[in-house]
């Protein structure tokens, strides 16, 4: 039932056909002893081929669970995807069998995790770990596999790949380890790469190198990217569009410049204004009162309402739908991008 071609004979340098990823009304809930946690509750977005979408939010806002849901790796049985659709091209990933999903995962959609220290296996050498995907998805072995591994290592700028392929993860620095993880993620030329805080464990100068590498690789191999981060600075540097998440939902979505230039949702606005900026001097920082809500006990209506300076009566009663807040300036080419916010400020105020 999947429309993807059988992979065994795929040419090495042809990327899997670029596909559009569309997430519709995704709901991933966790059933725990203390109650139901709606970690992701009605998330929708699209990712065009070649595009980079930033997913920003604080811990517990649902950004990582959204990504794990796309790969169908939500920890079961506590967590379950209880609703929604995830379309990759013309396949709904949520309808695939476990076996069919294994053909997608790592082949068409792959992931780079936060900490290369834990995502690499310490007892296998680099060659074994980088080659695994090519062996499984592309049917390579022997000297063909060896060549493929060295090609992948060259892609991620590992010096002397023929020597380094025999190294174990502990023999490499943090930045190099994360590049190995990148090589693994790229090994089957995926059309979507999910990067979940890939630079959080790296130093700033190494982080800058890694972000540059990801951008170069994206240009060379034309994959689209979901970039999960809590750092607005990274968003500004790598993302085309940004979705801001709060308590399991997307509260604002806009092209990057638009979001920074005129944030619409009060949460996004307050967050951007509260960041200490190394380029300016201020007397005091703008703060957001209160703290993020507990997902066990979300207030009715908008979860940000108790901290919001512009809250109205309706905000505490009903969760706002997503409103279009005015067409943004279009980019260099392509259709005008939309700027949406889930906030009653942009709704019909007579309600």
């Amino acid at each position: 039932m999947t429309t993807f071609p059988s992979d065994a004979g795929t040419s090495l340098d042809a990327p899997s056909s670029p596909s559009r990823l569309e997430v519709k009304d995704l709901q991933t809930w966790f059933y725990t002893g203390r109650g139901v946690v709606k970690a992701v509750d009605g998330v929708s977005f699209t990712l065009e081929p070649g595009e980079t979408l930033g997913l920003v939010g604080e811990s517990g806002s649902g950004k990582s669970i959204t990504c794990l849901s796309i790969l169908r790796l939500v920890p079961e049985p506590a967590g379950r995807i209880i609703g929604g659709e995830i379309w990759l091209g013309d396949t709904d990933l949520l309808q695939l069998s476990r076996h069919e999903m294994e053909q997608i995962r790592g082949r068409h959609v792959s992931m780079v995790l936060q900490d290369p220290m834990t995502s690499l296996n310490p007892v296998f050498n680099v060659e074994k770990q980088v080659g695994e995907g090519s062996m499984y998805h592309l049917g390579l072995h022997g000297s063909g596999l060896k060549d493929r591994v060295q090609q992948l290592l060259r892609w991620v700028r590992i010096p002397a790949p023929e020597v380094r392929a025999n190294d174990y993860p502990h023999q490499m620095s943090g930045g190099m380890r994360q590049r190995i993880v990148g090589a693994i993620a790229l090994s089957s030329q995926p059309s979507v790469l999910i990067a979940d805080e890939p630079t959080t464990s790296l130093d700033v100068t190494i982080q800058a190198q890694y972000l540059q590498l990801l951008k170069d690789l994206q240009e060379e191999h034309r994959f689209s990217m979901i970039f999960v981060t809590h750092d607005f600075g990274i968003v500004a540097r790598v993302c085309d569009r940004v979705a801001v998440m709060y308590a399991g939902r997307i509260v604002e979505m806009a092209p990057t410049r638009e979001l920074f230039g005129s944030p619409r949702h009060p949460y996004a606005r307050a967050l951007i204004h509260s960041l200490p900026d190394p380029d300016t001097e201020v007397e005091w920082l703008t703060t957001i009162p209160g703290q993020p809500p507990s997902l066990y006990d979300l207030p009715p209506g908008c979860p940000f309402a108790p901290r919001c300076s512009e809250a109205m009566d309706i905000c505490t009663q009903e969760y706002p739908p997503t409103f279009e807040t005015g067409i943004a300036e279009s980019g260099a080419a392509g259709p005008p991008a939309s700027h949406t916010a889930a906030c009653w400020l942009y709704g019909d105020k007579s309600r």
Binding site: G233, P278, L285, P289
Partner: protein, 345 residues
Amino acid sequence: MTATAGSPQPLLDVQHVRKYFPVNQGVLFRRPVGYIKAVDDVAFTIAPGETFGLVGESGCGKSTLAKLILLLEPLTEGEIVFEGQSLTRLSGESLRKYRGTVGAVFQDPFSSLSPRMRVRDIVGDPLTVTTDTPRRQIEERVAEVLDQVGLNPATASNYPHEFSGGQRQRIAIARALSAFPRLVILDEPVSALDASIRAQIINLLKALQQDLGLSYLLIAHDLGTVRFLSDYVGVMYLGQLVEKSTSRRVFTNPLHPYTRALLSAALPVRPDVAREEVVISGEVPSPLDPPSGCRFFPRCPAAMPVCETVQPLLAPAEDGHEVACHLYPTSVPQGATVPGIQGGT
């Protein structure tokens, strides 16, 4: 002495401090085969009521320096003078008193607070350990500092797990303040906190400093936080200070190539502000075997032949702005014969 801080009598005076950790080898007869030069000849001062910010990548020695000041590690060489008294000569009662006058706030409020102690005991601990204050007065003091950091004193009998991350960091700050310190070491005080909480804690730290006249040694990798809180900033690379000046000068006119790369790598908060992008190649070399000459030269975009052989000195390049780089003639050590560059004054 080069007094960076404008005040004549610094609160803390760190004088040419070194800390080497031996690397031992051998099973029965363990002997050092080398030394990790975690802190290698670092000097700076902090005046009363001022904040000195230390920036640099992991492994550059910032946290080791904090441990030396907190007397959690012995010095290898050099001297740290606090209020005119050398820390190496403290013992007994004076040592106990010193530990009360220096507080510390660490990065992760989930691991820096004991889960088995009530907030009252956590916050009162520095007083119990460093003074002979009677229990009743300790409880009064705990209520007072909890109020100062924005927590309800009625929560003093709760345990840390009953608080959120931001509140826990407030508890950690209350503990650092309870014994009336003069200096507080802030080691990455907000990097473990959520973005919407950070600004609250940063503002609180600044307000407390103004109200109580505290001095801070701030260690942070987020340059926005450093710029907001610091009066003076020192940039460290591989155990040494490579640049030191007022916060404004370092951020608006960085002199050292490493500082420039660091500022450029720290991503802009606003994408519309155009910034020079300097991506430096390579990684931080091992402190076990640092490069000869200038330690930054293998990665430096402006490296010259002299950088490989002669170690530059941290010296004032323009009024009060100190830098250790051969691009500035004052950094050339006296007597060094450098083709094309005149020896230092």
